[in-house]
Symmetry: C2
Subunit: 377 residues, 2 copies
């Protein structure tokens, strides 16, 4: 498929390989997968608000918590069907949140090996169509964590790693992570930064859980979490300390393109930072880091947001994605067209023009170049 | 000054009248104003992170908490000087956060009367140059709160009210607020929605307080708080229930223009909302509410964000602002030019073209029309 001069590439698309599903099925705390009597599919329960109703779930017609684990989660055949239905040539698949963040220290490294090998084997079975972002054993001792980076760089279809915002437990501005970032940068492995933890649930207010579904934590909590994580890395100087670090931000950077101006203003007007000499003339601005070390996906569902993302990072740094298998259609056939594809594709075409060079770049050309998707395929 | 066919209007500009400063000086919990030995100006301490260091403040050369209360906070002469320096014809002034949110129930109504009369008298003393957003006694019994709306609508220079996100304590999606919103709408009083509470401080991580100054709570916490508040109102159906409600969102809507697409996607893909029949064909989308009931200020410090705000709400719904007296210049004369003016003005000119109709509209024309600033001046 890479002979197609204008391939469509989906860089934000998740898989739950069977090995990982088993781990989730054996858990009693979130994240977990549980079967309920009378329900066709098991349910994946991931958000704190969903766990609250876990004990009463299924009783007296109470709605089931979480979301159904359909064949879209684990079936490679289903992923290929989704790609074919939506004319996606190449997918760069990744484990979905919360990855291995919850795995015990002693089991993390071996679990990561088995998950990453499962991803490599899926990619190898579909020549030219699949690459992947590997999963890191963040709860493992640092030596094992660095070894895991060595291991995944040797996997033929691995092009980077997917990373949450908790890092080793203290966030991505934790100095202990610098060797990890350096090892990833040295090996040309792009970090796909993805949210999971959202915001403390009290910010959604007393009506949210019962009345607003998952809208607030997913629509606002996720992008805000990403924005906070990357702003903390910026303020900690991580991008300067690891100049070869390359980071792809989920959901078009959360809200970073929109708020970069305010972040800059707050920095140059901050008494503490000015006194510490951190606002000098040598400082690289957020705008520079956006254009030099950050890539954004195009999962933003409107041309308004997409244009801001393009303005912030440049049309050569955006990459199309779908977030499959999340957000399935609820009122039409799951095997048919998904709005996660059509809304995001329409946004690109409205922002850049149907068939334009810019649209071709965002829809696939950028990903092929940035993630070297024509190699070894 | 309103005879100027292209006036520059600042609709986001705060004052702390002497009466209000006295209240803050008498408090021992944040928000408070305190004097420290050897410091020229008293300090205004407002953020939880600043209160943590209050006990040790000033000892052994430890930096003073909060920010200096300079003449820019309370002096009308200084406000006029700022306006003249930056060629601002008209300012729509408002009390700054946290307004009267902390005032005891029994004192709220009378405090609001005295603060609002002080604002009216400031405006009357500068014919044609000042209007104001009044302050509501939200902790007062509802009867007194509704009377306060009746009172301020009779003040000649009042054009709306400034409102925080806590409402009566449960947020702006609290059904108890509907009569308040209806009374404001009926009287043609625009709500200026402004953040104060930010996000729970744990989201900034262990390094924030000591190392990143106020950047994260101000640059991210504030706009995220506004976005959450307005999203909750939208999901609660407030905009449908009070169709004449008009709301001006601080900081270009927080992040609403950028995230509106994702909010829409999360709504139509939410199982709970679909089951409840809330995603039917009659639903007004976030985009429609943005264009029909919401105004945005232009306090976003970059043309990237400003363009998204214009794309989301329309060029006829944006209004210029400075956030004076916050964010004073730290490395140049406070009596000279402020970047809060120049960055935001440059953003408008870059987005819409210097001297263009759009620029004139955003810089002042919209405010004159929307807030009726040529009346009674």
């Amino acid at each position: 498929m890479t002979s197609n001069p204008f391939p469509v590439v989906d860089i934000h698309t998740h898989m739950y390989p069977p090995e990982y599903v088993k781990i989730l099925e054996n858990r009693s705390d979130i994240p977990l997968i549980r079967r309920f009597a009378g329900a066709k599919d098991p349910r994946y329960i991931i958000l704190p608000a969903e766990a609250e109703s876990l004990d009463k779930a299924g009783e007296d017609g109470a709605p089931l918590p979480g979301r159904p684990v359909t064949s879209h989660y684990s079936s490679l055949q289903q992923k290929i069907h989704f790609m074919d239905t939506h004319r996606i040539d190449i997918s760069v698949i990744s484990l979905a949140n919360p990855w291995l963040d919850f795995v015990a220290t002693s089991e993390a490294a071996s679990t990561a090996v088995s998950v990453n090998e499962e991803f490599e084997s899926m990619c190898a079975s579909q020549p030219g169509r699949l690459y992947f972002f590997a999963t890191l054993p963040l709860t493992a001792p640092q030596g094992e964590l660095l070894s895991a980076i060595d291991f995944v760089k040797g996997l033929k279809h691995c092009r980077g790693v997917i990373l949450g915002t908790s890092g080793l437990g203290k966030g991505l501005d934790d100095p202990e992570l610098i060797p990890v970032f350096k090892a990833l940068a040295k090996n040309g492995l792009t970090i796909f930064l993805h949210p999971h933890y959202g915001l403390p649930s009290e910010v959604w207010g007393p009506r949210a859980t019962a009345e607003y579904g998952h809208v607030l934590p997913l629509a606002l909590g996720f992008p805000l979490e990403t924005t906070i994580a990357v702003a903390r890395m910026y303020l900690a100087g991580v991008f300067d300390e690891v100049p070869d670090l390359r980071m792809l931000l989920a959901h078009s950077g959360g809200t970073l393109p929109f708020l970069a101006g305010r972040i800059e203003s707050c920095i140059v007007h901050d008494g503490h930072l000015v006194r510490e000499g951190k606002v000098g003339s040598g400082r690289r601005t957020v705008w520079q880091v956006l254009k030099e070390q950050i890539y954004l996906d195009a999962v933003i569902y409107s041309e308004v947001g997409l244009k801001a993302a393009i303005d912030a990072s440049g049309v050569d740094r955006l990459m199309f994605g779908t977030d499959h298998p999340f957000f399935p259609p609820l009122t039409s056939d799951e095997q048919g067209e998904w709005e996660s594809m059509t809304w995001n594709k329409t946004a690109v075409e409205k922002a850049l023009g149907e068939g334009s060079e810019g649209t071709k770049a965002v829809m696939g050309g950028n990903a092929v170049k940035i993630l070297r998707l024509s190699e070894d395929a």
